[in-house]
């Protein structure tokens, strides 16, 4: 498989300003030297707790924020040096579906207009062709053609998320960023949407950047998983390797906390002490060391390097 998106050393720092003059008083290292690739037609799952930088990473990929450092290559092309037309092309090829379909759809627009909007902006299409494309997209997400004439409030949460997916697919993107696409939906509806997303990937060959805190869902959907902690990736590799035999102590704790419903799966309970430290003032050395059950003296002073171990990459002094 060839790489679609290659992210290298991606970094985003935010200045914290205080007072009337806006003096810089601190630096939040929201994303700190993050690297990953997403293959054509594959899914990268990103997991981590709130504040770990998942959403900032997705914003950087979507071009909604400019990175402080690092490169993003899309189809071999450096995205950060693209001119206006190049950037326009990139933004067409990379679309997003957000968590809350109640917030992401304009309540005063009909569903047909919502889905057609990207076409109006980006494609020179006459009204008939546009209507045909909207019906095609509705069919793709298993909604009836008459849905085009209705308003978002006439749909349930799951159906709304289908509309949001149809809109994201309108311009035939090559990468879709899915930021918690099922978290806001009812349990009985989640499987429908996850199945739909997988079917669409098989049919259209689209790649996904899948961000979620439901670890089992991420493991189910992804080909590769990246685990983030305080702005850094601590473990990254094939989904099965990371989910079933996690190596980094944080990944182990995270997947132990995911609470399987199978009674007979032998899983140790690892409960981490303490809370996630502030990204304003991350711990020295390995950022996870104050909470790590295996912490050694060198963890407090020396930042671990990302290196291969057991078929994946881990940033931990244990390996």
């Amino acid at each position: 498989m060839s790489a679609l998106l290659e992210v290298e050393g991606l970094t985003k720092h935010f200045q914290v300003r205080r007072g009337l003059l806006g003096r810089a008083t601190g630096l939040v290292r929201a994303v700190d030297s993050v690297s990953f690739t997403i293959d054509v037609g594959a899914t990268l799952g990103v997991v981590g707790e709130s504040g770990c930088g998942k959403t900032t990473t997705s914003k950087l990929v979507l071009g909604l924020e400019r990175p402080t450092a690092g490169t993003i290559r899309f189809g071999g092309e450096n995205v950060l040096t693209l001119g206006r037309t190049g950037l326009r092309r990139y933004r067409r090829a990379v679309q997003a579906v957000f968590q809350d379909p109640y917030a992401s759809l304009d309540p005063r627009m009909r569903v047909g207009t919502i889905i057609a909007e990207p076409l109006v902006i980006n494609e020179r299409m006459d009204a008939t062709a546009r209507r045909r494309r909207v019906h095609e997209l509705l069919d793709l997400v298993s909604l009836p053609a008459r849905a085009a004439d209705l308003y978002p409030h006439e749909f349930s949460g799951g159906q709304r998320q289908r509309v949001a997916i149809a809109r994201a697919l309108a311009l035939s993107p090559r990468l879709v960023v899915l930021d918690e696409p099922v978290s806001a939906l009812d349990v009985s509806i989640r499987a429908q949407i996850l199945n739909l997303l997988r079917d669409l990937q098989a049919r259209l060959g689209v790649s996904y950047l899948f961000i979620a805190h439901d670890l089992a869902a991420v493991a189910h959907m992804s080909h590769a998983i990246a685990v983030m902690y305080l702005g850094q990736i601590v473990e990254r590799g094939p989904a099965d390797a990371v989910a079933l035999e996690p190596r980094h102590p944080y990944t182990q704790a995270l997947f132990a906390a995911a609470l399987p419903i199978d009674f007979d799966s032998p899983r140790e309970e690892i409960t981490l002490a303490g809370e996630v430290p502030s990204p304003l003032n991350p711990p020295s050395g390995c950022r996870f060391h104050p909470r790590c059950p295996h912490a050694m003296p060198r963890c407090a002073t020396e930042e671990p390097v990302f290196r291969p171990a057991a078929g994946r990459l881990v940033a931990c002094h244990l390996y």
Binding site: E49, S50, S156, G158, Q159, D186, V187, S188, I189, R190, A191, Q192, L194, N195, R198, H213, D214, L215, A216, A217, A219, H220, M221, D240, A243, L244, A253, L254, F255, A256, A257, A258, L259, P260, I261, D262, F263, S265, E269, T271, L272, A273, E275, V276
Partner: protein, 330 residues
């Protein structure tokens, strides 16, 4: 068997709306013993939260009204109590922990002010002894340096800490029944794991009965002794957690368990539940799950199934399990 702490019988709470009457809680019955945990699961609108609010008689009035049934707490029917008597019961005998700690805490008062209020009321303490007891409670929920925290305001604490403070207030009495309505939904995974451990420890100490409302079946597996699955205002299946998860009797429970992605069991497709959750003001005649049920029969669409005992302690509402019915799926 010891007498139950809580015994709810045929509880019915209806909400009158412009579009019709919603039977939010429609004949719910269950009992809980001391130190026992009942998981209440179901999707939004299934009546989980409304059942909990009915127990403490805090349903949003005038739209919602408790129409019938009994809520027995240690043999005493709460539905027959006056509003004044209820005020003395809430917090002291039945405590609640809700999903969002920020909405349970007052942002303009310090933690100490808010902690002292219930403690003073329940234990008639004042002054230094009161502060000491409040700090003790914070220490019991493992908040570091509790005395300093008493001076802090809710916004200065993290989400996990805030939920601990709410927990500390809940056990101030300590109560006979604790109702936890999605207490960890707003917390991060590793923090959630800590909090669940804490709740179990507090329960071991104080022996309260615990009703745990959640839609996360993994939490139910870890926390609960028994589980009640709600659908459209009714308990469609109830029994010991292990039994229900390994041999579910109701098609909805089975479908719910099948639709959840599991670690390790990598399948190409999940078994999705077709259709949408029901519109409660326009429920079908018969079984509410019938329109989405894979094993629906003629009879399901006409007549609501009665509660049937599958095995001692395991009940369900499904025609498939009713001894007299039988017959092939339509």
């Amino acid at each position: 068997m010891p007498p139950p702490v809580v015994d709810v019988r045929d509880l019915r709470t209806h909400i009158v709306t412009r579009w019709g009457t919603v039977k939010a809680v429609d004949g719910v019955s269950f009992a809980l013993a001391e130190g026992e945990t009942l998981g209440l699961v179901g999707e939004s609108g299934s009546g989980k939260s409304m059942t909990c609010l009915s127990l403490v008689r805090l349903v949003p009035r005038p739209a919602a009204r408790i129409l019938g049934g009994q809520v027995m707490l240690d043999g005493d029917d709460l539905l027959a109590r006056s509003e004044r008597e209820m005020q003395a019961i809430r917090g002291r005998q039945i405590a609640m922990i809700l999903q969002d700690p920020m909405s349970s805490l007052n942002p303009v008062f310090s933690i100490g002010m808010q902690m002292r209020e219930p403690v003073a009321l329940y234990h008639r303490l004042r002054g230094r002894a009161l502060t000491a007891r409040a700090a003790e409670l914070l220490a019991a929920v493992r908040i570091p340096s509790p005395r300093e925290r008493l001076c802090a305001f809710p916004h200065q604490l993290s989400g996990g800490m805030r939920q601990r403070v709410v927990g500390a207030m809940a056990i101030a009495a300590p109560p006979r029944l604790l109702i936890a309505d999605e207490p960890t939904t707003s917390l991060d995974l590793t923090i959630q794991s800590q909090y669940l451990g804490l709740l179990r420890e507090l329960q071991r100490q104080h022996r309260f009965a615990l009703i745990f409302v959640t839609h996360n079946l993994g939490i139910v597996a870890r926390m609960c002794d028994r589980v009640a699955v709600m659908y459209a205002g009714r308990i469609v299946e109830m029994g010991p957690v292990r039994r229900l998860f390994t041999r579910p009797a109701h098609p909805y429970t089975r479908a719910l368990l099948d639709s959840i992605p599991r670690l390790g069991a990598r399948r190409e497709r999940l078994t999705a539940i077709e259709g949408q959750p029901p519109d409660l003001s326009r429920l079908p005649a018969g079984c509410a799950f019938a329109p989405r049920c894979p094993s629906v029969m003629e009879r399901c669409r006409v007549e609501a199934p009665p509660e049937t005992v599958v095995e001692a302690g395991h009940v369900t509402r499904c025609w498939l399990e009713t001894p007299t019915s039988g017959g092939a799926p339509a």
